[in-house]
Symmetry: C2
Subunit: 626 residues, 2 copies
Amino acid sequence: MIAGGYTGRILRANLTTKTFAEETLDERLAREYIGGAGFGIYYLYHEVPAKADPLGPENKLIFASGPLCGTDAPCASRMSVTGKSPLTGAVGMAMTGGHFPAELKFAGYDAMIIEGVADEPTYLLIKNGKVLFRNARHLWGMSSFDCQHFIKNELKDEGLRIACIGPAGENLSRLAAIINERHAAGRKGLGAVMGSKNLKAIAVRGDDPVPIADKEAFTKAKTRMLKAMKESPVLYPAFAKLGTPMVVEASWGLGTLPAKNWTATGEWSPNGRIDVESNDKHRVTNEYCYQCPVGCSQLKMVRGGKHKGAVSVPEFESMYCFGSHTGVESLDPIILADRICDELGIDSISAGVTVGFAMELFERGIITAKDTDGLELKFGNGDAMVEMIRKMAMKEGFGALFADGVRAAAERIGGDAGLYAQHVKGLEMPGYDVRGLKAHGLSLATAYTGADHNRGYAFQEVFGIPEPYPVDRFAIEGKGKLTRWNQDARCVTCDCAPMCAFLMDMAVPGIALENTADLVNGVSGLGLTPREVELAGERVNNLAKAFNTREGFTRADDILPARLMTEPIKEGASKGQYIPQEDLDSMLDEYYEDRGWTKDGRLTKGKLEELNLRVVAEELARAGLI
Amino acid sequence: MIAGGYTGRILRANLTTKTFAEETLDERLAREYIGGAGFGIYYLYHEVPAKADPLGPENKLIFASGPLCGTDAPCASRMSVTGKSPLTGAVGMAMTGGHFPAELKFAGYDAMIIEGVADEPTYLLIKNGKVLFRNARHLWGMSSFDCQHFIKNELKDEGLRIACIGPAGENLSRLAAIINERHAAGRKGLGAVMGSKNLKAIAVRGDDPVPIADKEAFTKAKTRMLKAMKESPVLYPAFAKLGTPMVVEASWGLGTLPAKNWTATGEWSPNGRIDVESNDKHRVTNEYCYQCPVGCSQLKMVRGGKHKGAVSVPEFESMYCFGSHTGVESLDPIILADRICDELGIDSISAGVTVGFAMELFERGIITAKDTDGLELKFGNGDAMVEMIRKMAMKEGFGALFADGVRAAAERIGGDAGLYAQHVKGLEMPGYDVRGLKAHGLSLATAYTGADHNRGYAFQEVFGIPEPYPVDRFAIEGKGKLTRWNQDARCVTCDCAPMCAFLMDMAVPGIALENTADLVNGVSGLGLTPREVELAGERVNNLAKAFNTREGFTRADDILPARLMTEPIKEGASKGQYIPQEDLDSMLDEYYEDRGWTKDGRLTKGKLEELNLRVVAEELARAGLI
């Protein structure tokens, strides 16, 4: 029994048999994987067999938070959702925030493992130590917001926190998200996994506080953290007021704001379009996750015109994918598109990138209005964007062709459509033109989830924060090591501990691992060193790599979209930059070496054993994969 | 201090000064007016001066529940909202249900009186004995559902119950509703009064139970009531399963389902269109008000097509106003229209009736597509209906012309447009073609709120329930007396006690007054006789009449729409029926006599004094109005 931080219990619910069991959390698992994505990937690797159909009964979904979640450590109401991704075929892991993660702890669980397939639409109710499998036939088809409302209503409990899918998940769109409150475990199509299991929603409520092992140590760690937050030159002065949309200006300044399906980076300016000033006119209020003193979510509302009154929280990524990426110049359709994605439960980044991809195909004449149910899918057509997203989520008309993202659409369309598809490993590209941010590019190429900015975000390059490595963002050398550190430190700090990624970037970038160790030790009493904490991050990344290896991924998959490797950025502060194969190879060589992997990017027995992953090493060796 | 049922406190909040005060509930007020609409009309009459602008600072809004509300008496979470109606110029009083009414009691108040005008958008927070005036600038423009969500979110309290307005109320549409949860104090434009006061919302939460004066007597009364509910041949076997939409079939059977702006009653059949079977395909689940064992709200969802996933609770009145009245044959746009009305905060009945009115004008060529922003407003065009409602609520384009209902639109359009406007005193007609239900027609003609089915619903005619009067629905004789009883009994039972109207109709129609007396006495210890209870209803109706008299209403206003008085129903079980002036006059004569009013429909000193309304009698006498 661990002294604090953890509830010590893991819930295993089987939808096929409609039974559940409680398991005891192993202290070794806590020490070696900390929580969150660590737990998720641990169970995924060990329980989902190789080559399992992501939308079949063998796949599982693991919801897991970590020791800080549910305590009053700032910004720790975070949770991972892990399963095999139907979009990438690799590890699917997405983080979400809000209140659900903390509530799951209060309900008594560090993690829950969802198995099997229900014979009809079902939702889970987890409350006061009871787990009920409830019929959800009546909720099938409902938007994520309605679904949450009506579950609270029918259970007469407004305090429930609910994670659910919308129509996109039911329709098995491989871009489907899981929505809790108005937050999302958005990427990698985990909403489709939930849909494939006939699981509409999970409602949780609990009253058990999370025990603190060493209150004095915990208070000390918290105090330092809060001080660092207060002293951050960015966090309260800018970020709390502007939220992630402040990155629009920053990225534009760096010449790395992708535009028009990445054809016009550095040319398409956000000024007067989706810039900060325009944001402010639409701003309604800040929203807060549980125990967050920052409230970075900037609630925005359309103030006039035909979409007047539409409300959403469009993050930087939405400004990118529905704005610059599609050439849409008004915030109104951006807000509406963001709202529709949340209601219908489809990942905003992937949906928007897919629309931009379709727009390039349309502009090139590869598809025409005959293929788009008459929609004039030109860059800048915000109404067409909104309608296409709706059709994708509903798999209606031509929406079905694009409902599984750019890679699947390019394959279906054939010809050279794939040249314009912006993705890595099938996951659509997030909003940084990494031709001008090399470490970030390397991270997207190598992250176990595909093109995922949250797995190794190079804040050093974006914000110029010098810790722990001073960097030249165009340089190739050193980016392998930087990326390795970024991936491991972020993994354990943000995805396992867990802690909001923005704190790592803006408050404690130089002391992330020490800070995480102190907080985790305070709540749990585990007594981990900062090095052990870092090793946990490395372990999780290696185990994820092992999963992907078993699925057939190789060095050839650690690649970037064709355009980024062949076409230099034409204008702006990153003009002339691109990442030709030889540059990517240089970075990969350094990265693999720093990881202790082979030159061709394979795991090694030595590294796995060093990370106490002997069983994994043996399995991969038997399969001839190391 | 009354022994139970009442909190004994009334909240008075002034938006101009941002101050509030608590007043003690006078026992005489409780004895003579019981609660709810009684309290509302009492304060309206005594505090809002004659000829006050309904959208000006002199108007007030009184939210009031009654002694049964918040107890475990079944179906008593009801609340009246009262103010001078901007739609009719008469008393505006609308009832709502859900959870807000009970929560207001738990928060400590029998009633709250809202006065003045805030200098900027404001919302009230009433919780734990505190009243806060909070800035609502950021919520202005938001839909009613979003508004409720974000207030809970920013106050970090999911247990709040919130009444608010949507854009229609902000835009001062005289059809604007007040929405709490997904319920509405819908009619008479009280949402515009809230909007005129810059009051976006009222959020309440409380924990004080409602004291019960005589538990034994209360339990006895409840037991009898629950037994009557159980024994009702309609309530559980049909109503709990079908909700109010069951009236579609019933009314069609009577030949009284109005169709195509009342031109095609008896011709336009609901079978295969909006009938019960079709309803069932769309049915999702039942929704329950606080302490309701029935759950008549039938949540419905669009199952396919372009509006797939739209969710709402379209009552019978929505089936009428968005269905038969507009000739729309699919439940899908009906559900969507109902949903949009709730989101934008516009009264569904008035909105739908106004669309049907515009459709007749369009079909007659009085307005053309040039006047309707291109909308083909033909009977049966569900998409045009939905779009017109949105434009009305937003006062966008031609929507502004119709945003204040049929009477105002007819005046603006001029010519003989008024001949096709279905309203009484400016309030649009609800869904009973009263040409075939004479008492119900008389009630609509005389109700203090205008054409309001809830002020004296003639269940005897609709359901053929023989208590207390056996009736021939086509007969003229006896309908004056029946209507007087229906209005008074319903007023005290449903609008003051309060109790859900459906219980009066379906469970205790023959013992309504005795039942109400026993329940009210049980909770309050007031020891009222059934006759005193009935007198309270009569008193409230007379005081409302006094308010309207002071505003200039006379016998000439107790009238029905022109079509009903000149055109017989052409087909069906009410074929040939209409209400010519002489029939209306006969009924009015009997009605006024039974009310103790003069032949020309004026109040009398004698009746007012009999009802202990001496002060009112003196004021009206001074003004030469009696």
